[in-house]
Symmetry: C2
Subunit: 399 residues, 2 copies
């Protein structure tokens, strides 16, 4: 029983809880900053702790390719390698295989032959793909992906799934879902077989299953029922935020979550790849406990920050309107940049000049904004005022 | 009397001292990290303080072009703009005008005409140049350069000088030196005329003169005598480290420093643009009090770090020999990276992947290495063991 509900909102499905891992407790609902290559871009582990990050995410696909899961295992596991002693969730690599690996540029061989573009081949056993880095060939199976995550020493592992793009035919959505279900069974079997089988990896890792089904109501319901019938430690909702639009995404949540079986111990629900403030609020209302997204760090690298004063939304600090603006990004913000008097004008200058400090400051601000929003969400659930808080927030929030 | 000698080495010209500015005291000999565009690349002001930086340098040429000295003045001066409340030295822009501006790429106009490459024109009054950013035309005079630095609010200002490249004919070296001397007189006159004339700028800025003379003994002696006969607050040695080789540079110091007139209060001697560990030691021995150099930050951005265990020197962390090296950059180092257990293997991985954290860690390490070396130099001068320390250090140091 790694997950415990602390408080349920009476007017919605929102809830607060604690997810226990051997590297510490995670307060839910939680936002998990993404550290694709073993670093949440531009930040140190200390900074992440100061921001109040309970857990970060690592990408199995990327770390497997470079520096390699075996290399990381030799160096004491991912926690030791990256100097992070709090929990780490690693994804399954599925999403990357089906997105990044697809986009290898066609290569004209010395013989004049053109190598086809899409070299992802799906079989019942797993997926063949080529590295987006060097074109080298690899094969991911549900079992291998568990092994890789064991090498990394993840606290929370994800099963290999087949993430469909949007839009997607129902026929393909069914095939992909069935493979995802089949792989989920294989993964969980392999996971239990290998618990404690390797030294120097946590014996008490958690394994999460992933619901798929694209934007088809009956498939989402079916997938939710199937995946939640398996003894996973958590249930993830995958294949969203792939271009289907917000309304469609919220519908997917409405179809899926009620069909996650409440049999056995309560399990956390994790909405993969979602991270705008408005989406977090909508999803928490529908019962989601966990989130991850590259958005705060990616926006920051492009000079865009979230703010909320009288109204809120996104702001691009590269805009010339900030050139002479002596105030902070956001009044009363407690992030390192705002609290210490770095002006929009200075950050504008740094970003214009491609100075690293610029994206360091915007990254710290955006991560703080989102982690602070999650804190406020949790506080308001605990106080029974979540829906009021949500309404107030969204009233003056520009999407 | 802004400068006070605390201790003189009995066996050499090395000395420790305190240079007072309105933003605080500087312990000499001092190394000043370079913050070209108002940021010491990749670092925050807090990190610089933790590293023990007493003073940083800003580049007049760059800040004048972008965001502009008037813009910075409007935003409360450079200290306020960049959030640094300790002393700032700004150079005169002379070096950049004569190096960067020279290197504008030739432009083929719509008429088919090719714009000549070198558009730096020197007149008795100053220097015409084009921005390396957009080709816009500018004119620096000794007076204007003082005004710009007043707008920035520098604690220590440098006079406009003409920095010759290496090698350089004696004829040109004489001409450039004479202009430099003439400009020095104009600058100091303008400086004293404008003390306190503008609001919101420190009334007690210091002004340093610059000795030139290329690699000609008689010119260096003449320039040293002339510049030090003027009532500057400090004497800088310019035009070194421009490709003349170490031996030649040490000779320039030997020729110059004894001819800096000891009339009036003792003044600090500043060797511009020098920053390898071996050069710092050699120059301190010869009586230099102040240094600046982009080397620690620039090397760091290319993955190169200084280390000293049994032997010392440079190390490129991008080399594959570091791929599986689980130890720190340098044993017993107290920098953020080494102290907190970031391994060479992890930094190697970060650098390979162009992750910002990689160059953040190498930058912190290199700055710490150099600032710590200066601390050791000061301690050893105070204890009377400087030459012994220098010999020991250089014995196993690979250049």
């Amino acid at each position: 029983m790694s997950f415990k509900i602390l408080k349920r909102d009476k007017q919605s499905s929102a809830r607060t809880g604690i997810l226990k891992t051997i590297h510490g407790d995670i307060r839910t609902p939680v936002f998990m900053p993404v550290g694709t290559l073993g670093t949440v871009k531009t930040t140190t582990p200390n900074e992440l702790k100061e921001l109040g990050a309970d857990i970060i995410l690592g990408n199995t696909y990327h770390l497997y390719l470079r520096p390699g899961d075996k290399e990381i295992k030799k160096l004491g596991g991912l926690h030791n390698f990256i100097n992070w002693d709090r929990p780490i969730l690693t994804d399954s690599g599925g999403y990357q295989v089906f997105s990044l690996a697809k986009n290898i540029r066609p290569i004209i061989c010395s013989t004049g032959h053109i190598r086809p573009k899409n070299l992802v081949k799906i079989t019942p056993d797993g997926v063949h793909f080529q590295s987006h880095l060097d074109g080298s060939r690899h094969f991911f199976t549900p079992e291998k992906v568990v092994d890789i995550q064991r090498n990394l020493g993840s606290d929370i592992m994800m099963v290999l799934d087949e993430c469909t793009s949007y839009p997607c035919s129902k026929k393909y959505a069914i095939e992909a879902m069935n493979r995802t279900h089949n792989w989920a069974e294989k993964a969980i079997e392999h996971f239990h077989k290998t618990v404690g089988a390797r030294r120097a990896v946590p014996k008490k890792s958690l394994l999460f299953g992933i619901v798929q089904g694209s934007t088809f109501k009956d498939l989402r319901q079916k997938s939710a029922k199937f995946i939640s019938s398996l003894p996973f430690d958590g249930i993830a909702i995958g294949g969203v935020s792939v271009g289907e639009g917000k309304k469609e995404m919220y519908k997917v949540l409405d179809w899926t979550i009620p069909h996650i079986r409440p049999t056995g111990p309560i399990r956390p629900i994790y909405l993969m790849g979602v991270g705008t403030p408005e989406d977090l609020l909508e999803a928490v209302e529908r019962g989601v406990d966990m989130f991850d997204c590259v958005l705060p760090t990616r926006l920051a690298r492009h000079g865009t920050v979230w703010y909320y004063e009288k109204t809120g939304g996104k702001l691009n600090l590269l805009n010339s309107s900030n050139k002479s603006y002596s105030g902070p990004i956001m009044k009363d913000c407690q992030c390192y940049a705002c609290k210490n008097g770095f002006s929009r004008a200075y950050i504008h200058h740094l970003l214009k000049e491609n100075e690293v400090l610029g994206i360091r400051l915007t990254t710290l601000h955006n991560l703080h904004f989102l982690l602070d929003l999650m804190r406020q969400i949790r506080d308001n659930i605990d106080k029974g005022t979540f829906l009021k808080f949500k309404k107030e927030f969204l009233k003056n929030w520009k999407i």
